[in-house]
């Protein structure tokens, strides 16, 4: 068997099911149940990456999601490659390709390792100090170079071919973590019959029980108890058990986000989504998230082969892999003794170095010595030997003052280190709960809750197995409102440690490379430097040194970093405080966050009933809010300019047909409808006759134009209101707001009919002739049906509200028909118009035609700071009205003051020059910079009907400048323009009444 470090027995793996994957092109064989990390270790591969900053050789530190160093690029097939996967949590399976990162030309020989030799230069804050001068070098030299060197791993370049899902879920109790405490909590809650969701990040629920080979629970081996617990949970309909699911974010109102990994571990994923985002709203949350082991901080503590002590135990017991044959455990606490016993039991050469003095140790010391293991108490670790793999540990006796005695080299090929334990309080912290410092276990533990949650087990600083079970049970019962409590018996757990920040050493401090944060390459020296340079706040130290940043979020590094800062400042740990833990707990793919919101599901694309016709007639579309509108209808070989010119001519000379279905429509109904309209619009409405229309202008409270549109009075108590396409939702909300909060006494009801009515605009001198044969029940003659009138009748047998209105200045109709009939009516009208050369036109032509007439578009001529008078529409204000929304603001001093920008027309000296919309306007282009800007161009087009360019602009005191000259910026310089009235075509408005 290849796998020379695979133990012959033990572990939760299936030795009969081999798996093969590659690491840097080399085939690695593992077995079913392996992680990539355990399979690499089974093959004696420890060197798996280069560190972020110094390119130091790095190995596998941990067995879990706190792994800071073994970050691999994982390739699952074309388009399915992503960087920075923790080798310890990627399940080994056939066909994976894994690659180490951050080296060139190879993992073994990395040019970037020069950074390590230059490390005295690359101290904390190196960039801030070095790249200050000369200032102009920053943009052109420093930043590009730093950016090129920064980042870890390569982002995938191909589109992600996988699917991702989203699911909202509700439960009474959400339990995070399926270790002993979480399982006990879930069992207790499940027995009440309430809905329980139990999520665990591992492929197999069980947490620490998965590598617990010696302990017993309730008289049974722990593994058996685990099987029983899982079987019970599985049998209950009210329980959803989610393996491979990380609770990564804890938000308001017990809204917890989970990332479920569904297919990555499967060689043939089928059609299932790759990952699923669960958005759980839980009545109560139990956090049983366990704890992280702390590394010891000593010189070269990052050498491959140096692991966390408990991780050594996990690889031995769960994966049946020996991380080395000769293991030295270095510790300041009891838990590593359990690992040493298991290693000895696996037949490996084991010794243990404990910083604690004999009298500080508990029963573990006797137990270990009885097993024949050499234990050096009161010893520090001076440093590690070896480069790409640890070869030995230099230890020395150290007294409490840190004085070191004679060095001794302990040869080894693996080190298991333990600096104690840190509860995983990330989610609790995200829930905005207050952490409290517990001195007896040297840890921040959950204190005051901010939400309906409770922590249990190691996440709360409880490390004894029986206590974890009892605490989990109590938390689950309390969360589900049960008064029942269970008792558990379990083998005692070896707990307790002496907090140590950096191991005592007699080496020259300037030469010691003792890592605190392995992922961000931060050493104890860097943190000391930050404090020496005046940083006091832990948040500042974090940012200056980058310790605890990025995806690691301080899992392994936090307490050591805090402790070093506290030591340097000669203060206590709680007074230093801790940094804020940010979501996500572990990295989450973009795909999971995006979910199904891609392509057609990215946003609703709203189309009209006539969309398919427009598409099949070659229309080009533009986006207007969520709508897709026909922009122009190019014929073969036509440009936008050609098509629009043709469409504009057709409307003025014959007839054009336009899809105006996207116009917002609101049915305003009720005995007080006219009064309501009167209060909302600047215009008068009380006397508008049934069957007549009015152009309505609506202001916000500040007196600025909010929206406009034609309104028809359908009945004394019913108005058919139209709004702009983009303003439909805004106007309805504005109306409802006033109706519900200001005038609840008004008996008025608002109903959106935007999509009930499709609108076919027929514009041009031939419009009447086209529809005459199709319309029933309406006298179309100009006398009976004048401009700005509305009649109900039929068209093609379909009921219609026929408006005689015009946004083009031509004779025009807007045919409102129920949406499902719109296409048939459109096709009938189009067919009837063919003898007249009917021309479909799009929004671009609509814009040009209205500009020729000087009609404003809200959002183009207005920008939220424009009053009716600014655009020349103050004549519409009903003078007799006591009040309307915005009225009082129209007499504000700045609104009535001279110098406001007013709507004018501009014509260029050169008739062919089309100005740029947004271009600035000045009177004297020769004046010194900064020039006094008088306004800007709001609309600008080539007008086929005027045979020249036209523009509208807002210009300070513009109306008084009529006939005068101004200058407008263009990419080539200033262009001279003449100020004119903004009505460029048919200024007398005769055509509209035809």
């Amino acid at each position: 068997m290849a796998q020379p470090f695979r133990l012959s027995r033990g572990g939760r793996i299936d030795r009969t099911r081999p798996v093969r994957f590659t690491f840097n092109g080399r085939t690695v064989e593992g077995v079913h149940g392996d992680s990539v990390a355990s399979a690499l270790l089974a093959n004696g591969i420890h060197l798996v990456g280069r560190s972020f900053k110094y390119h130091r050789p790095r190995g596998i530190l941990s067995h879990g999601s706190d792994e800071p160093s073994a970050l691999l690029s994982v390739d699952r097939g074309p388009g399915r490659i992503d960087p920075n996967n923790r080798a310890s949590v990627v399940e080994a399976r056939d066909g994976l390709k894994t690659l180490s990162q951050n080296h060139w030309p190879s993992l073994e020989h990395d040019i970037g390792a020069i950074n390590d030799l230059l490390s005295p230069v690359f101290v904390a804050g190196f960039y801030y100090k070095t790249f200050m001068w000369p200032k102009k070098f920053w943009d052109r030299v420093y930043e590009p170079v730093i950016r090129a060197a920064a980042g870890l791993g390569k982002a995938p370049a191909a589109p992600d071919p996988d699917r991702y899902a989203n699911r909202h879920a509700h439960c009474e109790v959400l339990v995070v973590g399926a270790g002993p405490a979480g399982l006990a909590a879930a069992l207790a809650a499940a027995r009440t019959g309430k809905r329980v969701i139990l999520a665990d990040e591992g492929p197999e629920p069980g947490g620490a029980l998965l590598h617990e080979t010696s302990a017993e629970i309730d008289g049974r081996p722990a593994a058996e108890w685990l099987d029983g617990a899982l079987a019970e949970l599985d049998s209950r309909e009210n329980v959803i058990l989610l393996p491979r699911t990380t609770a990564f974010g804890y938000y308001n109102h017990n809204h917890v986000a989970l990332a479920e990994r569904i297919t990555d571990h499967l060689p043939n994923p089928g059609t299932a989504p790759r990952e699923r985002l669960w958005q759980v709203r839980a009545g109560e949350v139990v956090l049983a998230t366990g704890s992280h082991e702390r590394p010891l901080v000593f010189s070269d503590n990052d050498r491959p082969g140096i692991l966390l002590a408990e991780s050594v135990r996990v690889f031995l017991n769960r994966y049946g892999v020996a991380p080395g044959r000769r293991i030295v455990f270095a510790t300041s606490g009891a838990s590593a003794y359990t690992a040493a016993l298991d290693a000895k039991g696996a037949g490996l050469a084991v010794s243990l170095v404990d910083l604690r003095a004999e009298d500080e140790c508990g029963p573990e010391l006797v137990e270990l010595r009885a097993a024949g293991i050499e234990v050096l108490t009161g010893h520090t670790v001076i440093g590690a030997k070896g480069g790409k793999r640890v070869t030995g540990l230099v230890v020395a006796p150290a007294d409490r003052a840190g004085r070191c005695g004679a060095h001794r080299l302990l040869p080894c090929d693996c080190v298991g280190m333990s600096g104690g334990w840190t509860p995983a309080v990330h989610l609790f912290s995200q829930s905005r709960g207050k952490l409290g410092y517990e001195a007896t276990i040297d840890a921040f533990v959950p204190g005051t809750s901010a939400q309906a949650e409770r922590s249990a087990g190691a996440a709360k600083g409880t490390y004894d197995l029986a206590a974890c079970l009892a605490e989990g049970d109590a938390a689950g019962a309390a969360a589900s409102g049960s008064a029942e409590r269970r008792r558990f018996t379990a083998s005692p757990t070896l707990t307790g440690f002496r907090p140590v920040r950096a191991m005592p050493t007699d080496a020259d401090p300037a030469k010691v490379r003792a890592f605190v944060d392995f992922q961000n390459d931060v050493t104890a020296k860097d943190i000391g430097l930050a404090v020496r340079e005046g940083f006091r706040s832990i948040e500042h130290v974090k940012r200056y040194t980058t310790t605890g940043m990025a995806t690691d979020q301080g899992k392994t590094s936090n307490m050591n970093a805090l402790g070093i800062v506290a030591g340097k400042l000669d203060t206590t740990l709680p007074s230093v405080g801790t940094t804020t833990f940010r979501p996500p707990y572990t990295p989450v793919t973009f795909g999971t966050l995006v979910g199904p919101a891609r392509h057609a599901l990215f946003d609703p694309i709203r189309t009209t009933p006539i969309h398919d016709w427009a598409e099949s007639h070659g229309a080009t579309f533009e986006n207007v809010a969520l709508w897709r509108r026909a922009w122009y209808f190019p014929k073969a070989g036509e440009t936008l300019h050609d098509a629009v010119a043709r469409e504009c001519k057709a409307v003025r000379e014959g007839v054009g047909i336009f899809d105006a279905s996207t116009l917002g429509k609101i049915e305003v109904v009720g005995p007080d409808a006219a009064e309501f309209m009167n209060r909302l619009y600047i215009n008068p409405w009380l006397k508008l006759e049934v069957g007549r229309c009015r152009y309505g202008l609506m202001l916000k409270e500040d007196g600025y134009i909010l929206d406009d549109g034609v309104v028809a009075r359908v009945a004394p108590d019913c108005f058919h209101v139209t709004t702009t396409t983009g303003g439909a939702a805004r106007v309805l909300a504005h109306m409802e707001d006033y109706l519900q909060t200001e005038w609840p006494d008004l008996r008025v009801f608002l109903t959106s009919t935007t999509e009930q009515w499709a609108v076919i605009a027929l514009q041009g001198p031939k419009a009447r002739a086209v529809i005459a044969p199709l319309v029933g029940g309406i006298d179309l003659s100009p006398e009976a049906f004048p401009h700005m009138a509305m009649r109900s009748g039929t068209i093609c047998g379909v009921p219609t509200r026929l408006f005689r209105v015009s946004f083009t200045g031509e004779l025009g109709f807007e045919i409102n028909v129920p949406s499902d009939h719109a296409l048939a009516v459109w096709e009938a009208v189009h067919a009837a118009g063919e003898p007249y050369g009917i021309t479909p036109y799009g929004t671009e032509t609509m814009h040009v035609l209205r500009a020729e007439k000087g009609y404003i578009i809200v959002g183009q001529e207005t920008d939220g700071t424009v009053t009716p008078d600014d655009v020349g529409l103050s004549g519409m204000i009903a003078k007799a009205k006591k009040d309307f929304v915005g009225k009082r603001s129209l007499v504000r001093p700045d609104v009535v003051a001279a110098g406001r920008k007013q709507l004018v027309g501009l014509v260029t000296d050169n008739p062919k020059l089309v100005l740029e919309e947004g271009a600035q306007i000045v009177d004297d282009p020769g004046q010194p910079i900064p020039m006094r800007m008088l306004g800007h161009v709001t609309s600008s087009y080539w007008s086929p009907n005027c045979g020249r360019s036209i523009a509208m602009a807002l210009v300070a005191d513009g109306r008084a400048l009529q006939g005068g000259s101004l200058h407008v910026t263009t990419p080539e310089g200033f262009a001279r323009v003449t100020v004119v009235d903004p009505v460029f075509f048919d200024p007398k408005g005769k055509r509209i009444h035809a």
Binding site: H168, Q279, P604, T607, P609, G670, P671, F749, H821
Partner: protein, 188 residues
């Protein structure tokens, strides 16, 4: 000829797609042409046109051919067979008499999609954040809510298997149908 077209051949936006587009056992069926009315009335009295107006908010009454969902204190959504499109508003108006009210035909604004199957709620929960469990959302519940980025009305009808009606606006129906299809594919 065109007269005949009105009443018989509404061009429904979703047409007639497969009933189980995802092959997931979750049926997603666009409703045929139906009449829809938005009814707004204060001080409604017990009923109008035979439809109850005194039921609690967020409940639906009636059967598949004629139903009324109370969405707010003064707001109801009514659905019925297309054949009732003219008669129903008239009957409502007659019964409501002088009470201030609004009866607005929204037959062409609203598009109905029926979602049914044992796992229908799972598919809906892909985009609807509400608790659709038995206790919180039993048959007979109706509410305005969200499905992904679209506003919908969600109605749960009684039946041997879970049966939901999703109502959305016409131009959102392609998105809503596509969203439900994708959700059904991922509901496993």
């Amino acid at each position: 000829m065109l007269e005949a077209l009105y009443r018989t051949a509404r061009a429904l936006p979703l047409g007639r797609p497969a009933a189980d587009p995802a092959g997931s056992g979750i049926l997603i069926r666009p409703a045929g042409a139906e009449a829809h009315v938005s009814l707004r009335v204060r001080d409604p009295g017990p009923s109008a046109a035979g439809l109850p107006l005194d039921r609690p908010i967020n409940t639906v009454s009636g059967d598949a051919r004629r139903w009324i969902a109370r969405l707010g204190p003064d707001e109801w959504l009514i659905g019925s067979d297309e054949a009732e499109a003219d008669a129903l508003p008239a009957a409502l108006a007659a019964d409501l008499g002088e009470r201030p009210h609004a009866i607005v035909d929204i037959s062409h604004r609203n598009v109905g999609i029926d979602v049914s199957g044992a796992r229908a709620a799972v598919a809906l929960n892909a985009g609807c954040p509400l608790d659709l469990g038995e206790a919180a959302f039993p048959a007979g519940t109706a509410t305005r809510t969200l499905l992904g980025k679209a506003e919908i009305v969600l109605i749960r009808r009684p039946g041997p298997v879970p049966l939901y009606r999703v109502e959305c606006w016409r131009s959102f129906s392609t998105y809503v149908h596509g969203f439900l299809t994708e959700a059904a594919r991922s509901a496993g």
